[in-house]
């Protein structure tokens, strides 16, 4: 019997969403682990791009920051940051943007700016960084985030980055012709936008997770698809590769094990 944590299930599920021919703009943290797991398993030719300008990078350990030396040393090419945002991201060369969030609503709109009021925030978050334009310029967007009532809210405090806006065709009303959030991978389940309304619908539940747990950890009214799949458990290979990646990373960054 394979043992794994909910976070491992989430990372493995996120990795599986990527294809071998994807060109992926990688956010730091959870997206970075998922994208590199995909590269080290079923998608060896995937192109990973970090906003520091590294194109086609193949880091042996996960970067702590978006611009670790490892990213450049293993990249096909490294370009200036204005070129990255202008020619590669805005130029429409990226198939998938992989983002995390602090707050998320059911339309995949993202807040990474403030909790509370913008001018008098309860918590001042780091800000949007690359996300506002990753969210609109990539062919589609995958979101990965641990599920909780605090994070999965009915109304986010600040729209840092556009998802499906108010749902339906609202995203297109901003002149955006990319697909937007097409998958949300959590530690409990996978959600996909409703084909018409664009609100997230649970399409796959991770093994051992109940519908009640999902509902309890979501601030909006959860919708389930007519047919909900059970997510395949992580394979031994997937877990082994992921754990080795984390172990190498911890060692490289001088963490205590």
């Amino acid at each position: 019997m394979v043992e794994y944590t909910p976070t491992e299930m989430m990372t493995v599920s996120a990795a599986r969403a990527l294809k071998n021919d994807d060109v992926c703009f990688v956010g730091i943290g959870m997206p970075s682990a998922a994208c590199n797991l995909a590269r080290l398993t079923h998608a060896p030719d995937i192109t990973l791009i970090y906003e520091s300008g590294t194109i086609g990078t193949k880091p042996d350990v996960l970067p702590l920051s978006i611009g670790d030396g490892e990213l450049c040393e293993t990249a096909v090419n490294t370009v200036a940051v204005p070129e990255m945002f202008r020619y590669w991201l805005q130029g429409g060369k990226i198939s998938v943007g992989f983002l995390g969030a602090a707050q998320l609503d059911k339309y995949g709109n993202i807040n990474t700016t403030v909790i509370g009021d913008y001018d008098n925030p309860k918590v001042r978050l780091p800000g949007g960084g690359g996300a506002p334009e990753i969210a609109t310029s990539c062919g589609e967007v995958f979101l990965v985030m641990k599920q909780s009532k605090r994070g999965f809210v009915e109304k986010i405090d600040f729209v840092t980055s556009l998802g499906h806006g108010k749902g339906g065709d609202d995203r297109a009303s901003y002149g955006v012709d990319t697909k937007g959030p097409s998958r949300l991978i959590t530690d409990l389940c996978i959600m996909e936008p409703h084909p018409v309304g664009k609100q997230f619908v649970v399409t796959s539940i991770h093994p051992g997770v109940t519908r009640e747990e999902i509902i309890e950890n979501t601030g909006w009214e959860v919708e389930f698809a007519d047919e909900v799949a059970e997510t395949a458990i992580p394979s031994e290979k997937e877990l082994q590769v992921l754990r080795e990646l984390h172990a190498r990373t911890a060692k490289a960054h001088g963490d205590q094990q």
Partner: protein, 284 residues
Amino acid sequence: MVARFMSLKEAVASCVKDGDTISMEGFTHLIPHAAGHEIIRQGIKDLTLIRMTPDMIYDQLIGAGCAKKLVFSWGGNPGVGSLHRLRDAYEKGWPTKLEIEEHSHAAMANAYDAGAAGLPCAVFKGYRGAELPRVNPNIKFIECPFTGESLAAVPAIRPDVTVVHAQKANKKGDVLFEGIVGVQKEAVLAAKKSIITVEEIVDDFGDISPNAVMLPNWAVTAIVEVPGGAHPSYAQGYYKRDNAFYKAWDPIARDREAFQAWLEEHVINGGPEDFAAKRDANKA
């Protein structure tokens, strides 16, 4: 006006003054920490600090009371957490109140590009459906005169001074960047004056590509040799990022007294010559 070789003290004294708009760039890589410390030592005040990713270097400048305003697009200690000095200044006004102007990375990268290109503003496909335009009056929208498409516009960044770190200068004062080059070249070209700290000054660059990322000597104001001057950031080919120190920064910055003690010991009583040892401890 060809670049002059100076001491760090002389470079900061002659280029940076109270109230300046200053950009210290480096996208994780090549962050000019030694120069940041010199600005703190010289007690420069009321700076408008511009930086895409204000991290430890700006946390220190803000905590030391050098800044009145921050223009940024992502403020955090990468992979670690918040910038406690930044938050303390912004949220509680300690040691002085910090005003912020917030953008996205794309906006700032385009604004540096526009500054280097002598344009008054940058025009890009940005901020669509995003809320920052509601709270930042420096984000506007214009129409493409051919397609009618709505495009975002932000003012070009034109700092009084840009400070960056590079791997090498040659004896003529030309500067060579390699690896993750960020927005450094744009930030220098956009500025009225520039200070470049470098790992080493070499006779010549040897057999480099004709298309290397460079600044000719006449596009730079001051060059200072500061081995290790990017620590705890890194200089590709010279030393690695000191990730452990980025993690160690969190508890230091979390506490006002711990921060002040650190500042006193390592900045006020320190100097650029301290950085060489830090480089040696993190050799690539």
